[in-house]
Symmetry: C2
Subunit: 402 residues, 2 copies
């Protein structure tokens, strides 16, 4: 008896036809003898509709009530799916956050699942399919909580962990993780097997197939994932521990993010705590700083610090820097039209010459590198935004991903 | 300290602007020193939207899951209203069916509220406004249940009863109960005070201001109601026990229902149980039989039975009668274009000549009466549909309601 957690994203349940189709997928799995727990997102667009309703009342809509409001989205799609299954002669029922219950901790809109009662559902699974609305739980004092946008992935992984499921399959509108964006780069290839680390680097770099924190949780508890399409029968991408993967290629994928901006502080007085002084007020203002690069400058008393942020945050960041009396620097430059291009691969660390090969490839295309940052499984460069697709194509080719 | 239950119907919370307006009404009541429990319907149209979603999956959508689905409608409007109140600096929170809990019994889609825990909310009322989604509760075994269409009125009355509230105010899109339909008969007058019985007769006769079963419950527990408009500050209609009303007029209102059809079975073999034999299969087919009139016929061995039904049920009713082998009759006639016009008034029973006055008035207008039925506080006639408005106007005038 195989126990499966199947998670269906918003586009997968985005219409009645699609919900009927998803019911068909579940029925097949159930009638093949598997125990099935389905985690369901809100119908696509629904959560945004609800957020807009709340914003029409107030931009600072009460967080507790916002969770009460938003949780209805998954309740609707879950009950429709349960009804569709029952209508196709499969025993099924919804299990709502408070009926299980799914216990969370942390603040509203950003809670974490800490536990759930598995006995009642385990008993039910012997004869029927359990449908659980994703993205939500209840707090210690019985309030509805939500676990952040895209949180249905996190629910799926938490359920897979607590129910000790054999697999956790993430059904979505793409049929797996690609070596780069298949919409822009037609030679992009589906990756059959990928490690958690690589998946994390790829998804945090713009390949938004799965929510990063859910991948992190799966990695922590070694829960095998599979990302696959609701709309085709093709195999998806399996996400494992690195040990289970044979790295025939050093680079697994090429990711990129756009809408970035780069700021460089030139001649920053070099003393302990200076980086903290720069970034603390930005953190407070919830500005997400991505890459940070620090060089020793010529006189060895000052340093240059470059960092990237989302372009929308540029004005606010300049204001914060201007108001910051704890940091002294000679000059500031900015470039508001940059992109980050990264090669990702768990095999990189053991393959010499990757860095050189990347830089050579970009140079051949006459693409200027504005900044570089490296980690064990990732090498990122900042370039002019206009060169993004060229750079991605070139790197995809030279690392034999086409 | 006055404890008030305020119920807001679907049109009252039908848009963000209206929800803000309702928050203003509640804020005023709360800041005047009242304890306020607000019962909220789903935004207008929302419940129908959800029902249509379920019907697109199956006409026989599972009842348990339908209740899970439909209950989201009131959860959305309740959380939006709570957010609007908090945003206007009034402490407020939603109390969901399972958080209170509201216990119900009976089957899905048609449950009855039997109890709720009042302690937590009573404690909360000392400092804030409690918002309760109408129309729903939970069953003994922890499933979500709903209490029938229009059930938010029933929730309001049940809450008023269990919390021992001083008043129960039904905010809606009309400003009270009228002596007849003000949209069709401009001289219609708002009734300031009306008895439960009269209200029941008027509402079951087409004056759809409040759900009948909620009025019945209020009558049973003697809970004073007030029906008033969300959109004006005018006083509404107070609904009391008969003893509290001074009947200066014998007739309180004139009601009418259209879309009726009349069937007469002529020469029915007159023996015990014949009426039961006729109506049992119709009841099974959920055909609502309204008026039933039986006359002894000339030969005293047979009788004529006339009854009215909704016009939409006419074909089905004819088929059922045809298939019914337990009833023998000579002939059947039908009239598919009839209306029922009724005068209602708790003072009628003690005022002589009402019946004559009504028949005389209709005769003056050359309106033929096809059937007559009377009760203690009501006198109904069936007439040709085309005469409906004329009849209502005439009766409204002769009973001095203009």
């Amino acid at each position: 008896m195989v126990k499966k957690v199947l998670k269906f994203g918003g586009t997968s349940v985005g219409s009645i036809d699609r919900i009927q189709h998803v019911a068909g997928i579940i029925k097949r799995e159930f009638e093949a003898g598997n125990q099935v727990i389905a985690i369901v997102s809100a119908m696509s667009g629904k959560t945004n509709d609800l957020i807009n309703l709340s914003k029409n009342i107030s931009e600072n809509f009460d967080k507790r009530e916002l969770d009460v409001l938003l949780s209805t989205g998954e309740q609707v799609s879950s009950s429709l799916l349960a009804g569709a299954l029952i209508n196709s002669d499969v025993k099924a029922r919804t299990w709502l956050n408070w009926q299980i219950p799914i216990l969370t901790e942390g603040e509203h809109s950003n809670s974490r699942i800490i536990n759930m009662n598995i006995n009642k559902i385990n008993n039910f699974l012997k004869t029927g399919v359990a449908i659980i609305p994703g993205f939500q739980g209840i707090s210690n004092n019985g309030d509805i909580t939500t676990i952040g946008r895209g949180g249905s992935d996190a629910t799926a992984v938490a359920v897979a962990k607590l129910f000790n499921a054999d697999t956790c399959e993430i059904y979505t509108d793409v049929d797996g993780v690609y070596s780069t964006d298949p919409n822009k780069i037609p030679v992009a290839k589906k990756i059959e097997r990928i490690s958690y680390d690589e998946m994390l680097e790829l998804s945090s770099l713009g390949a938004k197939v799965m929510q990063s924190s859910a991948v992190q949780t799966a990695m922590m508890y070694n829960i095998p994932l599979e990302v696959r399409s609701t709309f085709t029968d093709r195999k998806g991408t399996k996400i494992f521990d690195q040990d289970n993967i044979d790295y025939s290629k050093s680079v697994t994928g090429v990711a990129y993010s756009k809408d970035d901006a780069k700021i460089t502080l030139i001649g920053v007085e070099d003393k302990p705590g200076v980086a903290a002084n720069i970034f603390e007020p930005m953190n407070k203002a919830q500005i997400n700083v991505d890459m940070v690069i620090q060089n020793i400058s010529a006189d060895q008393k000052t340093t240059d610090i470059t960092f990237t942020i989302k372009r929308d945050d540029l004005l606010k960041t300049r204001e914060i820097l201007k108001a910051n009396k704890n940091v002294v620097y000679k000059n500031i430059t900015q470039n508001e039209n940059v992109a980050k291009v990264s090669i990702v691969g768990a095999g990189m660390v053991s393959t010499p010459g990757i860095t050189y090969k990347m830089f050579r490839g970009l140079a051949d295309e006459k693409i200027n590198i504005l900044a570089i940052s490296t980690s064990e499984i990732k090498l990122s460069v900042i370039i002019d935004e206009k060169n993004t697709l060229n750079a991605v194509k070139k790197l995809h080719t030279i690392f034999e991903l086409d």
